[in-house]
């Protein structure tokens, strides 16, 4: 069943982009999805897929994300609109608790779209995520915020 998740999501994306949810178009989307997945089959590794999906927790993660995204855009906008910008930027290391490729990629994306933080790099051993912050005066607090916010919610939604 879970092997069909990726083609189904891609087929839905195809239907949305082409603007028609009619059956023939969905079947065509499924065919395109199968072809695309066939081409990248060698690159999909174990761990690229979530271990489980909990819809309720996923919605809660999504709600947190939308809220943080709005807040983050607002803060950047206010910051650059001020005559005097107050900046204390820096790059701090965030020790990762999540382990799979999928979770790390999702966490890195969410961090980039949330207030004041931008993921820069993952260490080669995949244990540390380097995060650039606009206000790096309290790296310990920022680390705690990510660990107790997004990282915990990702683990709740996909494990």
């Amino acid at each position: 069943m879970r092997r069909l998740l990726a083609p189904a999501v891609l087929a839905l994306a195809w239907a949305a982009v082409t603007g028609s949810f009619a059956w023939p178009n969905l079947v065509l989307g499924l065919a395109v999805a199968a072809l695309a997945l066939f081409f990248v089959r060698g690159h999909a590794r174990a761990g690229a897929r979530p271990a489980a999906v909990r819809p309720g927790r996923l919605l809660s993660l999504l709600a947190l994300f939308v809220k943080e995204l709005a807040l983050s855009a607002w803060r950047v906008a206010v910051l650059v609109a001020r005559p005097r910008m107050v900046l204390r930027p820096g790059i701090f290391a965030f020790p990762l608790t999540v382990t799979s490729d999928f979770e790390i990629a999702l966490l890195a994306n969410l961090i980039t779209l949330t207030p004041g933080t931008l993921s820069v790099d993952v260490s080669e051993d995949r244990r540390v995520l380097y995060v650039h912050a606009l206000d790096c005066s309290d790296p310990a607090g920022a680390r705690r915020g990510i660990a107790e916010g997004f990282e915990r919610k990702i683990m709740e939604a996909f494990r």
Binding site: V76, A77, G90, A108, H132, C136, S137
Partner: protein, 118 residues
């Protein structure tokens, strides 16, 4: 109803436009590539997303709205990846953060790794 819809569309377009403008201002005003990526990835994404939604809402067509929503979803997926890769490439190429920077644990880790290398 049409008035309400027009109002909603107008609010979305103007808000999106203001965010996109401020993202551009941020890219000019912020001191280095890392801080600039903040403005481009966040305010830029929200701005273009809002304008796409306005276009979808204005058309009153399911097909166009679906495309707009798909566009927003792809923006949210791709903009952070682009910002991340630009910042990462800059750091690997040795582009230094601004002098205002208070902490760079990534450069520290790299220096440690170089010292330990035989």
């Amino acid at each position: 109803m049409t008035v309400l819809l027009a109002l909603a569309t107008a609010v979305l377009v103007v808000t999106g436009g203001v965010f996109t403008l401020l993202a551009a201002v941020g890219v000019v005003r912020l001191p280095d590539v890392y801080t600039r990526m903040h403005a481009a990835s966040k305010a830029g994404t929200v701005g273009s997303g809002l304008m796409l939604l306005a276009a979808g809402l204005h058309s009153l067509e399911g097909a166009v709205l679906a495309r707009a929503v798909a566009g927003v979803a792809f923006f949210l997926l791709t903009a952070p990846v682009a910002a991340h890769l630009v910042a990462r490439a800059a750091h690997r190429a040795g582009y230094r953060p601004t002098r205002l920077t208070v902490l760079d644990e990534m450069a520290e880790a790299r220096r440690r790794a170089e010292r330990n290398r035989p």
